[in-house]
């Protein structure tokens, strides 16, 4: 191991209470993962024939991918729409997107009945299947993100000839990333096109693909905002309020556009919206509490220019994306079967461990990779 010359930030390398908790969760998750692998899905999860998809699909896969939408959203903003001022937000977004997809892949590994066959879609094709397309897009996009992280590592290792080579083809990576993300973010919603009869009217819509795409942009942007605020706090830097204020103006607009899309869709389908039951409660919470409310909050300059305001607005928006994915994949089935589902401890611990592992890798990444400062002047473009 090479000895480190400089400290990247004060207090580096010490086991803080925060990290200790993350490690404990990680260990619990590893034990749960071993139980899952050796004892099987039936023994360790509460999944059953009536609920073949549970917490792991709702959170690790649907929510994880949507929240990792920051990578392609930021790449599109900076390289395609040329909004260069947001460049400081790009690298953390890429890192967290990569970690988000790692969480997806690991989560999927435990969810599959035959995890070691995870590569099968590569050679066994069914071009009629939306899930086939999603698996290819995720595979390719994770590779694109991995290359992006690799370029950061090359900068760290001072291999500038290689960095320059990758920068010369960088536009290809950006366009591929945006294209693949557009496809699989919306296709994850399109998975649910085939089960309208099982779902509640509130979420069963032919427009679910575009809705998923739009909310993935929201998920990505709100996570980028939260990430910037939290890392400023954790690494004791000054929050980039001015930049975030301008950035979240875009988030607010995205939220209001998404709200309009959802309302138009519900109105066009004539869905029964005003009913007093549990699914409708979650629906109101989602639509008004986590889409409309942060959208309206972010129209105020005072909210956008305060750390607290940004935490609340971006936090609500990110929570809303997660809530939407849970609603589509779990709440929506409430009235369908005489069974109910609540995740088991193993399911919960594996999910928590994935989150904890993600944070620890992010922490590691920010320490070892040039995430917050570019070693070279300027970004590739």
């Amino acid at each position: 191991m090479a000895e480190k010359v400089e400290k990247w930030y004060p207090g580096e390398g010490k086991l803080t209470p925060g990290r200790a908790i993350l490690y404990v969760i990680l260990v619990l998750g590893l034990i749960s993962a071993a139980a899952r692998l050796f004892l099987g899905l039936g023994a360790t999860t509460n999944l059953n024939d009536a609920y073949p998809w549970g917490l792991w699909i709702s959170f690790d896969i649907l929510s994880g991918v949507a929240l990792a939408g920051g990578g392609f959203t930021m790449a599109a903003a900076i390289y395609i729409f040329n909004l260069k001022k947001f460049e400081p937000l790009l690298r953390p977004a890429k890192l967290s997107a990569f970690i988000g997809y790692l969480v997806f892949v690991v989560g999927l590994f435990f969810d599959l009945g035959q995890p070691w066959r995870i590569w099968h879609p590569m050679v066994m094709w069914n071009p009629h299947s939306v899930l086939f397309e999603v698996s290819w897009c995720v595979m390719l996009y994770t590779t694109v993100l991995g290359m992006d992280i690799f370029i950061m590592a090359l900068e760290r290792w001072q291999k500038f000839e290689w960095v320059n080579f990758f920068r010369s083809i960088y536009l290809v990576l950006v366009v591929a990333g945006v294209m693949l993300s557009t496809l699989h973010q919306s296709s994850l919603g399109a998975l649910y096109l085939l089960m309208p009869e099982k779902m509640s009217d509130l979420w069963a819509t032919r427009a679910i693909g575009p809705l998923f795409f739009c909310s993935a942009v929201i998920g990505g942007m709100s996570v980028v905002t939260l990430e910037s605020l939290i890392s400023s706090w954790a690494y004791k830097r000054k929050p980039e309020i001015k930049l975030l204020g301008s950035f979240t103006k875009g988030l607010g607009i995205a939220l209001l556009v998404y709200f309009a899309m959802k309302v138009t869709d519900l109105y066009a389908r004539g869905a029964t919206v005003w009913v007093d039951d549990a699914p409708h409660f979650f629906f109101y919470l989602e639509l008004f509490g986590t889409v409309a409310l942060p959208g309206i909050l972010l129209t105020f300059k005072e909210v956008r220019n305060s750390v607290k305001g940004l935490y609340w607005a971006a936090g609500l928006a990110a929570f809303g994306v997660v809530l939407n994915r849970f609603n589509v994949s779990l709440t929506s089935y409430g009235g369908y079967r005489e069974f109910s589902y609540f995740p088991s401890f193993v399911e919960i611990f594996i999910t928590l461990a994935l989150i904890a592992g993600g944070i620890l890798i992010f922490d590691l990444g920010t320490r070892y990779l040039p995430v917050y400062k570019s070693e070279l002047s300027g970004e590739p473009g």
Binding site: L37, F38, L39, G40, L41, G42, A43, L47, N48, D49, A50, P52, W53, A76, Y79, I80, F81, N82, K84, K85, L112, G113, Q114, P115, R117, I118, H120, P121, M124, W125, N126, P127, H128, S129, V130, L131, F132, E133, V134, S135, L171, V174, V175, V178, M179, T182, L183, S186, S187, A190, L191, L193, L194, M195, P196, E197, K198, R206, G209, G381
Partner: protein
């Protein structure tokens, strides 16, 4: 020739010989069961029970109790949703009727279970290396010219095996001959694009109260796989569109920024 099975529920006596025959042919383990309030046994289809007879007690018009026995198993759709959604193509509709499953391809994602409009595919939850299980229409028997084991075991000819076209004709002939005895609709003729298991019932499945036990009547006549295939047919165009739009916008916006910075050398952004 596409094979099918006509299930005339008015002929069924509820002996469950088909359940036993199915277990024998597929080498499935027996299990200890208990009577449920509906007398149906077992209570659900699962990875060890590919078929079961639902017992349903109803009151006739004259006040006498009437039993209905409805055999449930994979419907073997003509255009199966499961085949359409499987990411590795583990499920296939054979030309001669059965929808079969390839143990060696399946990754265990369970999308087929989510997508099946009849909730037929079941998972081996008890196993550490689980696979999906469902009725295979005894594809191996059909291949060598035999009838499925359930049809062979049926003592009352409630399970009629044959060519789908001929069986549909027979079903409509029975309805025409005894209009009072049958509900004038063959379940499976058109639903989700048609199935290879077709049913004759005394009343509609809705009236039997089985429309939430795998015999939904609100599924429509369009095969569900179409929704996924329509989406997939758009995918190459979305990819091409987004890709070229991204490249185009990149150069336009870059050029615009260059022009702007030439106009105002300070290059203000606000």
């Amino acid at each position: 020739m596409s094979k099918a099975m006509l299930i005339d529920t008015t002929r069924c006596i509820g002996c469950r010989a088909c359940q036993v025959a199915c277990k024998s042919w597929h080498n499935l383990p027996g299990e200890r069961t208990t009577f449920s309030e509906t007398w149906s046994n077992p209570k659900y289809l699962d990875s060890n029970n590919y078929t079961r007879v639902i017992f349903y007690e109803a009151a006739r018009a004259d006040g006498q109790p009437a039993w209905n026995f409805v055999k449930r198993q994979c419907m073997h759709c003509l255009d199966p949703a499961c085949e359409s959604v499987c990411p590795v193509g583990a499920l296939t509709k054979l030309k001669n009727g059965p929808v079969v499953y390839d143990d060696d391809k399946c990754i265990g994602c369970r999308y087929c279970m989510m997508a099946c409009p009849f909730q037929v595919p079941k998972f081996e939850w008890g196993s550490a290396v689980p696979l999906v299980r469902k009725c295979d229409f005894c594809a191996d028997r059909i291949e060598i010219g035999l009838a499925p084991s359930c049809a062979t075991s049926c003592p009352t000819q409630a399970l009629l095996f044959g060519d789908r076209k001929a069986l549909l004709q027979e079903a409509h002939r029975r309805i025409g001959a005894q209009p009072g005895k049958y509900y004038p609709e063959v379940y499976g003729e058109k639903i989700v694009g048609g199935t290879s298991k077709i049913y004759l019932t005394p009343v509609s499945f809705e009236a039997l109260g089985l429309n939430h036990q795998g015999f939904r009547t609100d599924l429509g006549d369009v095969p569900y796989g179409i929704y996924g295939r329509q989406w997939m047919s758009k995918v190459p165009w979305i990819a091409l569109g987004v890709g070229s739009l991204a490249v185009g916008l990149h150069y336009i916006n870059k050029r615009r920024a260059e022009v702007q910075s030439q106009k105002s050398p300070e290059g203000k952004e606000e």
